[in-house]
Amino acid sequence: MIDISKEEIKEQHWHSRSAFVMAAIASAVGLGNVWRFPYIAAKSGGGAFLIAYFIALFTAGIPLLILEFSLGHMSRGSPPTAFAKTVGKKWEWAGWFTVFAPFLITLYYIVVIAWCFSYMLYSLDLRWGANAEGFFLSNFLGLTSGPEILGGIRIPVLIGLIMLWFLIFVILYKGVGRIGKICLILVPVSTIFLVIMVVRGLTLPGAIEGISYYLTPNFSALLNYEVWLSAYAQVFFSVGVAMGIMITYAAFLPRKSDLSNNAFITGLADAGTSFFAAFAVFSIIGYLSFSSGIGIENLGIAGPHLAFVTYPTGISLLPFAAAAFGMIFYIALQMVGITSAFSMVEPISNSVNMKWRVSKTKATAIVCVIGFFASLIFATGSGMHWLQILDHFVADFALVIIGLMECIILGYVYKLYRLRQHANDVSDFRIGRWWDVLIKFVTPVILIFILAVAFYENIRAPYMGFPVWVILVGGVLPIVAIFLLSFVFMKVKGKEVEVKE
């Protein structure tokens, strides 16, 4: 066993509780809060969806956060170390699988942030003009007719990628101490920007119709199991579990840390941001519907289409300061995006650092360089196709499998009550046996159900009509590769390192 030097220990610890909480919130709050939650809520019963969402948050999201905080804090190590130390050496692969998945996500997630960077600049002269869709797909992305035609690398995206990977390296190479400082600034600033967008949106004509579309409840939707699946899936993807981030972050907390309370704060802040961001989205959508005469249901209200087609169209129609509001919107997206992106790189960088005793600077540099080259595929003219495929398979399968794996390994192979006892020993309030029931039975059953539905739908028809070989190469192969790589990394001999106070 090799100990980390005192200097490294200082750099690799949270400077305050607020730094840790802000970093956890910043990691959980990402682009999905802005472009996924509002859409899912609106199509799944409007205001009634909130009931299903809150139940999912309290029965799966927050319990899983407590699980990951407890595992990281008790083991004082990166995810591979955490699984090896608590469950057993032969389970180290589970930790590696957990850190590889978010790294895969980062490869395309960072490209979307690079798009936001370009669009922030384009906002200055509203360069998308009257045809935002044509500008985005043809002029900006140079989207090819299919994934097999790569097209050239898009220079604006490439420039954004170089800057963003370098930024991630600078933020991460010193350890979590710097992450905390950055998040203490970015979280409040992005919240202020979001408030500006909401206030601006709500003062526009048609905004009320947009908000009404979002919040008017359809309680009969709660009888539809798909609404409940959507609620659990949204909570699961949003709170940032099953990615090794919360395990890694919690490893650097002092011994006496309130894990349960921190989990509730993180989960509620994440959900609160989604709930609030929807007002910024639907007020502008309502305004766009009012101005163009197109029904809200016919406007793109989710994913990249929302951020790069619908929203720019709405911004162009603003009566004054359109450029300023465009910039604010894309800066806010970059802020919430980059804080999630570096949190997804930190687990793998940290795991390499801990296993092989490579310096944090070197480990981060290796990961960022590999990440940069691997993400270039998404900067090509066919990038959007590959992005959609990988995103679909990682989100629908890899993360759900990891969540399920965590519940089963920690719930059945390991003695789960030990993690509960650990959380209770250090936390302000105690969690009861209900938590064991949620982790061992409720959450796994729901995750199996989500997985089964996703599997059935993918078998029934190829995703978005893509050729089977494209789906295999772009979606299945990366997941199988990281799964196998997890065992390879476990087998390679390392030098164990433990985080100490």
Binding site: S16, G47, N262, L268
Partner: protein, 37 residues
């Protein structure tokens, strides 16, 4: 339409109460416990 339907207002209050009320409650507990981390 000039105003939000009553049912939408009710869901707005419900959502805000659970999320922000809950957040304030747990932040208050954290401050009360005044733990370092």
């Amino acid at each position: 339409m000039n105003s939000l339907p009553l049912s939408a207002i009710a869901m707005l209050i419900f959502g805000a109460t659970v999320l922000y009320g809950g957040l304030v409650y747990f932040l208050y507990r954290a401050l009360k416990a005044s733990k370092k981390c």
